[in-house]
Amino acid sequence: MHGSHADYLRDVSGFLGGYFLAIALMNAVYAFTMWRVKSRPMAALVWTAVAVAMTGISAIAWGGSPPELAQPIKDYINWLTGPVIYSVGTTVALVVLFVFRKFFVNPVVAWIGLNLSLIFMGLSMTDSNFGAIVMKPDNVPIVGLVFLLGFFTWLATAKGVENDERIKRGLPPTEKLDDEKVLVWPDLVYTELICMLALTAFLLVWAICLQAPLEEPASSVKTPNPSKAPWYFLGLQEMLVYYDPWNAGVVLPSLIIFGLMAIPFIDFNKRGNGYYSIEERKFAYLTFQFGFLELWVTLIILGTFLRGPNWNIFGPFEYWDPHKVLALNNVDLSQIWWNDVMHQALPKAPPGASVLREVSYVLYREWLGIVLVLAYFLLLPPLMATTIFRTFFLKMGFMRYMIMANLLLFMLSLPIKMVLRWVFNLKYIIYIPEIFLNF
C-alpha cells in the first residue's frame, strides 16, 4: 500500500507542480493589478507573498513530495459527506452565502475563497482515491462546472447587490448607465471574434491534454458497478434513491421541463426585468436558486463524486470498496402504521378474492399514505392561498396559482422525502407494488 502511494505521488507531482505554479501566477497578476491599477501597495505586498509561497509549494511538489492533507482531516471530510450532512450542509452553506451576500461579494473575500478552494483541490489531489474520481476524463468538466458556477454566481450576486443598493437610494440600476448606442461593427463583432478565438484555443488545449475515454468493448453481460447515467442526468439518478423510476425518471423530469417553461407565465412580478437584482424579486430568485443550485447541481456532484459501487456513498478520500455493505432496513408507511402502531399484520385479501375486493384491501392497507399524499397536493394549495400566498393568489388568479403551488409542492417533495428517509428510514408513503405505484 505504501509503495503504491509513493508511485501515485510521483505520477501527480508534475501536474501539481504546474498547478501550484498556476495559482502563484494568478496571485502575481492580482498583486500587480493591486499595485498598478488599484494603487494599494499593502495589498499588493500580501498577494506577492502568497504568490511566492505558492511558487515554493510548486517547487516542492515538482520535487516529488507535494504537501498532503493530514489523515484526520480526510477522515473528517469523509464523515461530513454522508448524505444527511452533505445535503443539509450544502443547503445551510447556500443560506449563509445568501444572507451574508454583502460580505461575500467583496472581491477580496471572493479572491481568498477562490485561493482556498484551489489549494484544497491541490492538497486533495495527493490522495489517490480523490484523484481517481476527479481525474476520470468525463468528470473533469464537472470540476469546471463547479468553478464556473461559483464565479458566475459571485458575479451576478455582486451586480445584484450593487443594483439593490442603488435602487434603495432611488438610483437606476447600473445597466441603465450604459444606455448609449454603439455600432455593432466594430464593438460587438470584434468581441465575438476574440471570444471565438479564445474558445478555440481553450478547446484545442483541453483536447490535447485530456484523452477522451474509451473503455472495453460493450458487453451486455458484464454490468459495471456502479452503472451511472451521463453526468448531467445524475441528479435524476440520485432521485431514484428516494422515488421509483416512474416518478424520478419520467414524471419529475417532465415537470422540471414544464416548470421551467412555465416560469415566465407564473412570475407576475414586473420588476427586475433586464438587470441583475435580488431584492426586487426575492421569491423567484430564491426558488430558482434552490431548485438549480441545491436540487440539481449538488445532486449531480453527489452522484458523480460520492456515489460508488452498489450506489453507496463514499467520502471523497475513501476507497471505492465494492464489498462495503450498508444495512438497508427501510420501511414503508403502511408497515409503520399496521405493524408498529396497530400491532397487526398488513391487511391482505383472501386468496381468490374478486378484483374489486382486492382493490379495496389495497386501499385499506395504504389508506394513511393515500390520505397524506392527497392532503399534500389537494389541501395544501388552498391552505397556502389563504395564508402565506394570499397576495400571490389574489394577483395570479386561480389557474396560475394552482400550477405554481403544485409545481412548488412537487419540488419540495424531494427534500421532504429525503428527510423522511434519513429520520424514519421511510421508503414509500404509498406502496402498491401490485400496479407499480409506489410514492
Binding site: 468525463d138 468538466p141 464556473l148 458566475f152 458575479l155 451586480k159 445597466e175 450604459d178 448609449e180 454603439v182 455600432l183 455593432v184 461593427w185 466594430p186 464593438d187 460587438l188 465575438e192 471570444c195 474558445l199 478555440t200 478547446l203 483541453w206 483536447a207 490535447i208 485530456l210 474509451l214 473503455e215 472495453e216 468493448p217 460493450a218 454490468t223 459495471p224 452503472s227 447515467a229 451521463p230 448531467y232 442526468f233 439518478q237 423510476p245 416512474w246 419520467v250 414524471v251 421541463i257 421551467l260 417553461m261 416560469i263 415566465p264 407565465f265 412570475d267 427586475g272 426585468n273 433586464g274 438587470y275 437584482s277 426586487e280 424579486r281 423567484a284 430568485y285 400496479i435 407499480f436
Partner: protein, 257 residues
C-alpha cells in the same frame, strides 16, 4: 497599388462585398446590412447589451460550440460506421491510426462544454429577469433547446459502443420502462388491455420505442445515430434560427426600461 488594393478593387471581390471596407461610420453600417452572416445583428446596440459582465456572452458561446460540434461531428462521420461490427473499432482507430487524433476529443469536450454553457446561459437569463415580457416565448424556445442539447449529448454518448456507453444508456433508458401507462413496469400499464390481452409489454412499451429493441442493441445504435447526427441537429438548427430571430423581434438584448 498594393496587393490588398488590387484584390479589393477586383470584380470578384466587389461581387461578394458590395461596399468598401468598414472603416468609416457609413460603411460600418452598410456592412451589417449587406452581409448575410452579420445581418443576424442589429446595426447598433446599447452598450449595456454587449457588456460581457451582463450577458457573459454565454448564448454566443453556446452557439459557437454548436458550430464546433457540427464541424467536428461531420468529420467524425467520415470515420465512423454505426454497426456492432465497426462502431467500437472505428473509434479505436480514430485514436490509434489517425494522425493528430484529437477529433474525438474536440467533439466530446465540446459537447460537455455545450451542456454547461447552456445551463450558464439559462442561469444568466434568469438572473437578469430576461424571461419577463416580452421575452416569455423565447425563454420557452430556450427550454426546448436545453432539452434537445441534453438529448444530443445523451444520444451521442452511446456511439463509441464501449462499456461506458451502453451502460450509461441502459441506466438512462431503463426509466422509460416505468413510464406511467406506457411503460411495461409503469403504474397503470394494466389499463391498456384489449380483450384481456396486455397491450403494453416489454416489446411494445415506451422503452422499446426509444431503443428499437428490448435492450440496448444494434437497433438502438442505429436509432441513436440517426437522432444524433440528423434529426436532433436539424430541429436544433431550426429552433436556433427562431431563438435568434426572436431576440431581435423582442427588442434586442434585455435591459432596464
Amino acid at each position: 497599388m498594393s496587393l490588398g488594393e488590387i484584390i479589393r478593387e477586383s470584380q470578384v471581390w466587389k461581387s461578394i462585398f458590395r461596399h468598401p471596407m468598414p472603416t468609416d461610420r457609413r460603411n460600418r453600417i452598410v456592412v451589417m446590412l449587406t452581409n448575410f452572416f452579420l445581418h443576424l445583428h442589429p446595426v447598433s446596440i446599447k452598450k449595456q447589451g454587449i457588456a460581457l459582465s451582463y450577458t457573459w456572452c454565454m448564448g454566443g458561446v453556446t452557439f459557437f460550440l454548436f458550430l464546433v460540434e457540427t464541424v467536428t461531428g461531420v468529420l467524425l462521420m467520415f470515420y465512423y460506421r454505426p454497426t456492432l461490427e465497426w462502431a467500437y473499432n472505428d473509434i479505436l482507430a480514430l485514436r490509434d491510426v489517425l494522425s493528430l487524433g484529437i477529433l474525438r476529443e474536440l467533439h466530446r469536450w465540446g459537447a460537455h462544454a455545450m451542456v454547461i454553457t447552456t445551463w450558464l446561459h439559462m442561469y444568466r437569463v434568469f438572473l437578469t429577469g430576461s424571461y419577463k415580457p416580452p421575452r416569455e416565448f423565447n425563454w420557452v424556445v430556450g427550454v426546448i433547446l436545453l432539452l434537445l442539447t441534453l438529448l444530443l449529448s445523451f444520444t451521442g454518448y452511446l456511439l463509441p459502443w464501449d462499456q461506458l456507453a451502453i451502460w450509461a444508456i441502459t441506466v438512462g433508458s431503463n426509466m422509460a420502462r416505468a413510464t406511467p401507462i406506457l411503460g411495461h413496469e409503469g403504474p397503470g400499464q394494466q389499463l391498456l388491455t384489449v380483450g384481456g390481452i396486455d397491450m403494453i409489454t416489454n416489446a411494445s412499451d415506451a422503452r422499446f420505442g426509444l431503443l428499437g429493441a428490448r435492450f440496448v442493441g444494434e437497433e438502438t445504435l442505429n436509432r441513436f445515430y440517426i437522432l444524433h447526427c440528423i434529426a436532433i441537429p436539424l430541429v436544433v438548427a431550426l429552433l436556433l434560427a427562431i431563438h435568434f430571430w426572436r431576440v431581435r423581434k423582442d427588442g434586442g438584448i434585455s435591459g432596464p426600461l
